[in-house]
Symmetry: C2
Subunit: 220 residues, 2 copies
């Protein structure tokens, strides 16, 4: 493997270990020693990529804004739904993604590191604006307002569901869409949206297959 | 003042100070010393009511499930709306209520103390069941599922809005209702629901006036 490819893989291994430890312990209790042990890399390798625990946490948050697995759709509203559905499928399978919510929900870590929420809101607002320009949204919908609400609602549903051991996240997020879409979509679009709980899993499998990845890969 | 009334007032003073400190510092960094200083009571008085920081935090969480200010309505769906609207009005004015979200959002504190979320879900589910029995909800709505989703969505909207300094919580929560109610209410009920952003403030004022409380009271 070329030196650069190895470095990218090592960085990824470290971030995934950091994600696990931040997700399990929270920011304050996480230690570089535990992340090192989990990653199985040398101290030198870790410090080559990350200078401190704070730097590691920033790296984890930098991976949070991901739409891997979301495919372009003719209906931009369907694509907007798919973003949340694919994430609901991936989150329980990827500690690195869960860690970004753990870090953002923690008042201390948030004050130190910021969150990926503004990035998510802008991304989803742009997508809703395109849906609106295509005539898919009811006229009163303000893409920026709806995007901000939805980022909050999605995050809160995940946090509360996980705290009360409520069940499969994909089902909760599907139900969230079923609650909000009738107040957002024009009737002709509403009936054609796929909000089945397995939508995210299907999208993710199609994406993995298109990469030729094996079924044992994370999130598969 | 009778001894019992004094004790109740002292307990409340301590809880409000604890709410401020937990809200500002988070659970781990909060100290009994700072709570003592804020409350302006003696150490003996504090330890008469609360044996530890953990006990103080449990006391704070015990105050979280409050519907003070919500008046009975003919439409149970309106009353369900009012619960979230009044809380959205009170929360920015009452550190004791904010602290319960801060404590619940913190993974560590949550593992130690639990949350008020199961209580909220059961309370709101019961109210939605009454609305359904009165024919106010669309037939596919499952009161328990919707209540759990809504507790998550409400909480997440608050946390994200506060993190990004998004604006007045009352407006965000009103917009959340406007997004979910068209997918929940039968058409004849939907048009008659009051989801104006100042709904909570009006309800709260009416409640304070009914008590003859003065305008300087918390939340007035």
């Amino acid at each position: 493997m070329a030196r650069q490819a190895r470095a990218i893989q090592t960085r990824r291994t470290i971030l995934e270990a950091a994600g696990e430890v931040f997700d399990e312990r929270g920011y304050d209790s996480a230690t570089i020693a535990e992340i090192l042990g989990r990653a199985g890399v040398t101290k030198g390798a870790l410090y080559f990529h990350f200078t401190s625990k704070e730097d590691l946490a920033r790296g984890v948050l930098g991976e949070a804004l991901t739409t891997e697995g979301v495919l372009p759709q003719e209906s931009k509203l369907q694509e907007w739904v798919d973003v949340g559905m694919v994430l609901a499928h991936r989150l329980p399978r990827e500690p690195l993604l869960r860690a970004s919510i753990t870090l953002s929900a923690d008042q201390h870590a948030r004050a130190l590191l910021g969150t990926s929420w503004p990035g998510w809101i802008d991304y989803l607002a742009e997508m809703l604006q395109q849906a609106k320009d295509q005539g898919e949204l009811l006229p009163h919908i303000d893409p920026q307002e709806t995007a901000a609400l939805f980022v909050g609602a999605w995050t809160g549903v995940e946090v509360v569901n996980s705290a009360i051991a409520g069940g499969r996240l994909e089902e909760k997020i599907a139900a969230l869409y079923d609650h909000v879409l009738p107040g957002m979509a024009v009737p002709g679009v509403l009936g054609r949206l796929d909000t089945a709980a397995d939508r995210g899993a299907r999208m993710w499998r199609a994406h993995r297959n298109s990469l030729g990845a094996d079924a044992a890969a994370p999130g598969a």
